[in-house]
């Protein structure tokens, strides 16, 4: 089953004289286990595409399916439900919630997805151990480095084993080593779980990990050059 399917998606951002066509008939398919990079200059529509694919925005035209489930444009609750169960998000900033400790931030996604509490905790601990931050679960968010926070954000995106992970510039706030650790974790753990990963990025260091690279130009999507080192 295709993890992300977008067919003829149009989306206009803004209103009146400020209205800008952000997506112009975008169609794409991403299969389970793929890591697809979405490249393009600022304002090219990368974040809008992620928002539509993640059900945060509804398309003005076209159809979006995630994990085989449609994202009905006019049904906010249905999109919310799909978002909670089928999608993991990794943002540019970790966006961990300061009212919770680091582990609780991960468990919250499990609770929102409605998965068993013990199962969520076991998965969270496995993910965090695999990323080398298992011992930091009880820390307040402010007590972690940016790299550590982002690894918790990756765990949050994967704890409910979603078929789709959407990441927006996940390494932009990190130094080289931390960024690499986060990407390696996202790729290894996401692919292990069969997730399709769509990453909007300017970071060329991610190219070696990608299955495909797409480039956004004027609201449309076109193939980019093959990842370095690939035949």
């Amino acid at each position: 089953m295709t993890a992300i399917q977008m067919d003829g998606v149009f989306k206009v951002r803004g209103r009146g004289v400020l209205a800008v066509p952000a997506l112009r008939g975008v169609s794409l398919r991403i299969e389970p286990g793929e890591l697809v990079l979405l490249e393009g200059p600022s304002g090219s529509g990368k974040t809008t595409l992620l928002s539509v694919a993640g059900g945060l925005l509804s398309p003005d035209a076209g159809e979006v399916r995630v994990g085989g489930e449609p994202l009905p444009p006019r049904d906010v609750e249905a999109r919310r439900s799909v978002r909670a169960r089928q999608i993991g998000f990794v943002f540019q900033r970790s966006n961990l919630l300061p009212g919770l400790d680091a582990l609780e931030n991960v468990l919250l996604q499990g609770a929102l997805a409605g998965i068993d509490a013990a199962l969520a905790r076991r998965r969270a601990e496995e993910l965090l151990e695999a990323m080398g931050v298992g011992h930091l679960g009880g820390r307040r968010v402010g007590g972690l480095s940016a790299g550590e926070e982002q690894r918790f954000a990756v765990a949050r995106a994967l704890v409910h084993s979603p078929p789709v992970v959407l990441a927006d510039e996940p390494t932009a706030s990190l130094d080289s080593a931390a960024g690499r650790a986060v990407v390696e974790a996202l790729v290894a753990l996401g692919r292990d779980r069969g997730a399709a990963i769509l990453v909007a990025t300017h970071d060329g260091r991610l190219a070696p990990f990608a299955s495909r690279r797409l480039r956004m130009v004027d609201g449309g999507v076109e193939p980019a050059a093959r990842p370095q080192g690939e035949a």
């Binding site: 919310r80 978002r83 169960r85 966006n95 919630l97 009212g99 609780e104 499990g110 609770a111 932009a172």
Partner: protein, 379 residues
């Protein structure tokens, strides 16, 4: 899903605002709750004072000059001979004359003189009808040169049993302190009936007559007989007379108390609205993240409401507890104001403030629910 983590608990914790702001708001609610409850208790104390006196057991019928229906704001005297006429009515067990006036009670020397104007009741002590409803110390007056003072008045004057005061220019020895006789704006004092009659020049004409009925006596027919036999008089049952007095007390102080109580309540509501508003502003990005992750706007709104209600409930409960403690301390060490609390106050106050908080938080919560989850993508 019975074993799944409840997102509500984690959501509520995730949405907690700054601790300092919550403490500030909670303290403000506590202060408002304390103020509102103290004012209500003071009002109740005043009304219970006049009701406690005029509603005593044995005060079955009050007889007043026609046109007078209360003890607090009244003037006029009954004719001489009314007492004897009432004694002959079947069903009447006892009758007692009461002379009521406002008089200055003073103490001290010229350099340090304290003065209070008190509601002075002259009655036939110690066994006659019309005495104080309760004594906290000493006894009631038995001689013309004796006086029993409300304990709040005694506290303000700085006197106790054994002290000497001037009552309308005559010396009197304080022989007792009464309780349940504080009307907030003034207090009762009790003197011998004959002394009061002489001082006022009443010539045996009482302000009121209090009638005790024999068991089973028909109240309405006795009242009718009294009005027939005592010229230009009006007879009231105990409940009627108590009601009239409470009305008069309330008319005097209730608007002011209601205004201040309302202001206190308004301050609390404003604080709660600010708390919710602060949460909406501080947590805007976190709310966007929660919505993006799949939390429902309803759950987020309920999370914020739960936090606001928790702060308000704890604040109001703390205010109620503080009011209770303040009442006990005041009663013990500075009984100038009678604060009458009810056992339900610690429940009613948080409930009332909680309901107001829900209304005040509604606007900010609706704003929170409209936050665009796409904001979570903003760097």
């Amino acid at each position: 899903m019975g074993n799944s983590v409840r997102p509500g608990r984690l959501l509520r914790r995730a949405l907690r605002g700054r601790a300092g702001r919550a403490w500030l708001a909670g303290s403000g609610v506590a202060a408002s709750s304390l103020l509102a409850l103290a004012l209500l208790a003071a009002h109740r104390g005043a009304t219970s004072g006049v009701a406690g006196y005029s509603g005593q057991d044995g005060f079955d019928v009050w007889v007043a000059p026609r046109g007078v229906d209360n003890l607090v704001r009244s003037a006029g005297q009954l004719p001489v001979g009314g007492e004897e006429a009432i004694r002959t009515i079947p069903g009447v067990a006892d009758v007692g004359p009461i002379l009521r006036t406002f008089a200055a009670v003073e103490v001290g020397t010229d350099g340090d003189r304290r003065r209070l104007t008190l509601l002075v009741i002259g009655y036939r002590g110690p066994a006659g009808l019309g005495g104080p409803p309760g004594l906290s110390d000493g006894r009631g007056p038995e001689r013309p040169d004796e006086i029993a003072l409300d304990r709040a008045a005694a506290h303000r004057l700085g006197v106790g049993p054994g002290a000497t005061v001037d009552v309308a220019g005559d010396r009197a020895r304080v022989v007792g302190l009464t309780r349940g006789t504080n009307l907030f704006a003034t207090q009762f004092a009790f003197v011998d009936h004959q002394a009061a009659d002489d001082a006022l020049g009443a010539m045996g004409r009482p302000s009121f007559l209090v009638v005790r009925l024999a068991p089973g006596a028909p109240l309405e027919s006795v009242k009718k007989a009294i009005e027939e036999r005592v010229p230009r008089s009006a007879a009231f049952s105990r409940d009627e007379f108590v009601g009239n007095n409470v009305r008069e007390i309330s008319a005097g102080v209730l608007p002011v108390l209601a205004l201040v109580t309302g202001l206190g309540f308004a301050v609390a509501v404003a604080l709660v609205a600010l708390l919710a508003q602060g949460l909406a502003d501080d947590r805007r990005r976190d709310v966007a993240v929660l919505l993006a992750l799949g939390a429902s706007a309803r759950a987020v709104g309920l999370g914020v409401l739960a936090h606001v209600e928790k702060v308000v409930f704890l604040g109001a409960a703390a205010g109620a507890a503080a009011a209770w403690v303040a009442s006990a301390v005041l009663d013990r060490f500075a009984p100038t104001v009678e604060l009458s609390f009810r056992a339900t106050d610690p429940i009613v106050a948080p409930a009332a403030f909680g309901a107001a908080a829900a209304l005040a938080a509604l606007g900010p919560i609706l704003r929170l629910a409209r936050i665009d989850p796409v904001e979570a993508f903003r760097p």
